[in-house]
């Protein structure tokens, strides 16, 4: 499936960039005139994915994170967060609610929220190579709005 539009940003794994990343995702989605709830869902899910990369992919150093945004036919948005960090040894375990290796500062609910707020979530990871989180959300067409 060919993307109708796309954008990509690469940033350093500093926590200050969490807000920057979710704002970029919301701005890209704005071309579909989403509802406030849809924008909130996108910002929340992207924030979770980027935070995971910042906290877990590069635990002892700074690295690069790429957020790729794509728009497909039918109002489908794709948000892909890619890092080249330590990877996830067991993705199924990582996706289990309340599971975290981040201590008291993390709740272990990041993937649960991504799944709840998006229409699709795929996680590919290779220890030592990095992780790619791909999320899709369809923005409903509203009466009187052409997309």
């Amino acid at each position: 499936m060919k993307a109708m539009d796309q954008a990509s940003i690469t940033f350093t794994s500093r926590s200050a960039n969490e807000g920057f990343a979710r704002a970029c995702a919301a701005c890209f989605a704005a071309q579909l005139d989403p509802t406030l709830d849809e924008v909130a869902d996108i910002k929340t899910a992207v924030s979770e994915a980027v935070t995971n990369a910042i906290v877990h992919a590069y635990p002892d150093c700074l690295g690069k994170i790429t957020l790729r945004l794509r728009l497909f036919e039918g109002g489908v948005l794709e948000f892909q967060v890619r890092d080249s960090g330590v990877g996830i040894p067991d993705v199924d375990q990582a996706r289990t609610p309340l599971f975290t290796t981040g201590g008291e500062e993390r709740s272990g609910m990041g993937f649960t929220i991504m799944e709840s707020f998006m229409d699709g979530l795929k996680v590919r990871s290779q220890p030592g190579k990095g992780t790619v989180v791909t999320m899709r959300k369809r923005i409903a067409r509203r009466a009187g709005v052409s997309k």
């Binding site: 909130a40 935070t51 609610p97 990041g110 929220i113 707020f117």
Partner: protein, 101 residues
């Protein structure tokens, strides 16, 4: 993150504001830890009316506050929850652990 602390009888209210993400959470946890340790409230209300964004980092903040209070027998309530934060809390099922108003 600025917090506002008010108290009445045995109830302490802490109003949070701004965006609660991982970037803000560490400092916020430290502020709440210090306030709870100093005041030892029997009832703590976290007022989220000024929170403009919250992700699962905010859940960790609430769970930590609940744990800190529990050490001294205190009880936590979360009040005035904006819609976006409510959706995050509901998705995580936090209402089973903390009183959400």
């Amino acid at each position: 993150m600025p917090i506002t602390v008010t108290s009445r009888d045995s109830e302490l209210t802490i109003a949070l504001s701004g965006e609660i993400d991982h970037h803000a959470a560490r400092e916020l946890m430290a502020q709440l830890d210090q306030t709870v340790a100093e005041r030892l409230p029997a009832h703590l209300v976290l007022d989220l009316s000024g929170v403009t964004f919250m992700d699962s980092s905010g859940i960790a903040v609430l769970l930590r506050a609940r744990r800190q209070l529990g050490h001294n027998g205190g009880v936590l309530r979360v009040a005035n929850i904006p819609a976006q934060a409510r959706r995050v809390l509901d998705a995580a099922g936090i209402g089973r652990l903390i009183s959400l108003e």
